[in-house]
């Protein structure tokens, strides 16, 4: 089979325009497929993070968007003293867009000492002491920095907010890389928000033996009838609710991705069939020379496989680069879903490309392999 490699490649090259068009079709489809796959992976990652079941989020009851939830800051101190609670951090969330958006910028304001204690942030540029000294200091996740081209020492303004970039951090948690952290007090004092002494939510760490449901109930019970009642859930449940609409949407987009793949199947199949029909006599000559039907079959399969793998390879490669270097994230209600390239994604993509290549070649290959020699020789 390898011996016939040059023949197969030259065959593809013979109709290079047609081949290249088909290859680019396959590339586009697998680009889309991989990109959509990354979105899906991001969602799955969010859902599967086990730490999300051991952290609680306390929100104002009956509020859904971070910009409308407002809890007294001292709730955090009160919660911290409750049984089963290891720690509680008041967080002020500020963002440029509450709805689902691809360019959402989310600020989380925490007391500086709590920030370092509760988040695994690794400063790749800048330093903590600058952050701590600057009232308007922020540390920026690498993905946001990449997307918005942010550098340490710059001012960064968005909406009513103007901040100083004190550091850029990386985090092992992909969605964190899209986050911006600021001082709690600074975000509380944003003009027009009227939120001094309040926070958006309280993040609660449980003790090892605590029952999360019981603590949730206890917290909500504690503040019922108080000035502001609360709604407490594990971070996992909280996020699932926030991204609930997206899950359906992404599932639908995923279908579109599959539709793209199906389209490529039809495209490659058609092109390969055209190639086979152009070469009826040539295949008859090959058979006369002694190629078995199985060999002819494998030639045609190899053709469509190569087209799909080359096109798919380019598309997947481009998607991986785009994912790596764009720092894209989908944000909704303050929750961020990072899109990242992954080996698994690339491998699945290639496997799909290979599968499509083989399936697309089946009908043309069958036709070529089963052509009767003598009538085929009579065709010009």
């Amino acid at each position: 089979m390898i011996r016939f490699g040059p023949y197969i490649l030259k065959t593809l090259w013979r109709h290079r325009t047609r081949t290249l068009l088909t290859v680019s079709g396959a590339a586009v489809a697998l680009f889309v497929y991989s990109f959509v796959g990354a979105v899906q992976e991001g969602l799955n990652r969010l859902a599967s993070d086990q730490s999300h079941h051991r952290t609680l989020i306390v929100f104002q009851a009956n509020r859904f968007c971070p910009s409308t939830s407002k809890l007294p800051e001292d709730y955090a101190r009160k919660i911290e003293q409750m049984p089963g609670v290891a720690g509680a951090v008041p967080i002020k969330v500020y963002m440029n867009n509450c709805r689902a958006s691809l360019d959402v910028v989310v600020f989380n304001g925490l007391p500086a000492e709590k920030l370092k204690a509760t988040r695994q942030l690794d400063l790749s540029e800048g330093d903590w002491s600058t952050f701590e000294k600057q009232r308007d200091g922020i540390v920026v996740g690498q993905a946001v920095a990449l997307r918005r081209k942010l550098k340490v020492g710059q001012k960064f303004s968005i909406g009513a907010l103007t901040t100083s970039i004190a550091g850029i951090f990386t985090s092992p948690i992909p969605s964190e890389q899209n986050m911006i952290y600021a001082h709690l007090e600074f975000l509380q004092r944003i003009k027009g928000l009227n939120s001094v002494g309040t926070c958006t939510q309280v993040e609660v760490a449980l003790t090892a033996d605590a029952n999360s449901d019981a603590v949730c109930r206890a917290i909500d019970e504690r503040f019922r009838g108080g000035p502001i009642s609360t709604d407490t859930r594990t971070r996992g449940v909280f996020q699932a609710r926030a991204v609930g609409d997206l899950i359906e949407l992404v599932g639908f987009v995923r279908l579109l991705g599959l539709a793209c793949v199906a389209l490529v199947l039809a495209l490659v199949s058609t092109t390969t069939l055209m190639g086979v029909q152009d070469r009826i006599r040539e295949h008859a000559i090959l058979q006369t020379v002694g190629c078995t039907p199985a060999r002819i079959f494998s030639f045609v399969i190899a053709e469509s496989l190569i087209v799909c793998l080359v096109g798919g390879g380019f598309g997947i490669g481009a998607a991986m680069c785009a994912l790596q270097f764009s720092g894209l994230a989908l944000g909704t209600e303050g929750i961020l879903i990072a899109f990242l390239p992954s080996l698994a994604l690339a491998a699945t993509g290639l496997a799909i490309a290979a599968g499509v290549g083989v399936v697309a070649g089946l009908a043309p290959a069958w036709q070529a392999a089963n052509a009767e020699i003598v009538p085929a020789l009579r065709t010009a």
Binding site: Y7, L286, Q287, T288, V289, G290, C291, P293, I373
Partner: protein
């Protein structure tokens, strides 16, 4: 030694209600080293007989044994493998795969045999030399003249040293001078290399280079003596 044994073969084509029987109970044999020419009216079944001997078509009834192998009962795959080893086929025109060079076209049959790269190269080079095209190895079919293309076709048919070489009007598309060259080449293959050749032709002159001459009439082979002596051509 008997190389081709066509034994009471009938071939029918059915088209709708029409049945054509170009070969009716035909019997025909060739010895090793024979050069047989086959003439006959258009539509008399010459190509049909040639295709049966070459194992690219099957008889309706009867048995065909070539190179000691009864080929009538072989599966498509076994038949293909058998062809790779035992048959060289020269077409009237468009013998070659257009995307492959002369060298690669000639190498094709060798790719199907268990031969090393260097052995393949050696054989192709020898064959190119034999057909006088050593300097055209890297040319594509479209860069060759009709006669050169036909010589590459012949080279491909003989390169694997098959038991029998069949040619269907190999000079049918060529001018007089080129025809002479090709016939000369075929005759040398027969006399110098001892190749067994079966050639269909419309051309008396061409038929005369063969050592045995037949006419196909009403499905029957009739041996005929030619007025032209083989040697007088050259």
């Amino acid at each position: 030694m008997l190389v081709v044994d066509v034994d009471h073969v009938t071939k029918q084509f059915t088209k709708g209600e029409h049945t054509i029987t170009p070969l009716r109970d035909t019997t025909f044999q060739m010895e090793r080293g024979d050069f047989v020419s086959l003439m006959g009216a258009s539509g008399s079944g010459k190509s049909t007989l040639l295709n049966l001997v070459a194992g690219i078509d099957r008889p309706t009834t009867g048995r065909i044994t070539v190179a000691g192998q009864e080929i009538t009962g072989l599966s498509r795959s076994r038949l293909a493998r058998w062809r790779a080893e035992h048959v060289g086929y020269i077409f009237q025109t468009h013998n070659l795969v257009p995307v492959l060079t002369a060298y690669e076209n000639i190498e094709l049959p060798l790719l199907l045999l268990p031969l090393s790269r260097s052995e393949r190269r050696r054989r192709v080079d020898v064959t190119l030399e034999a057909v006088g095209l050593a300097d055209r190895a890297d040319h594509y079919p479209r860069q060759l003249s009709g006669g050169q293309e036909q010589r590459v076709g012949i080279a491909r048919a003989i390169v694997a040293n098959p038991t029998v070489v069949v040619a269907d009007e190999p000079t049918g598309d060529l001018d007089g001078e080129t025809t002479g060259q090709i016939l000369d080449l075929l005759q040398r293959l027969n006399t110098e290399l001892g190749m067994t050749l079966l050639m269909v032709t419309h051309d008396l002159h061409a038929a005369s280079v063969a050592s045995r001459r037949y006419r196909l009439e009403q499905g029957q082979l009739i041996a005929r003596e030619s007025a032209v002596v083989a040697g007088s051509l050259t």
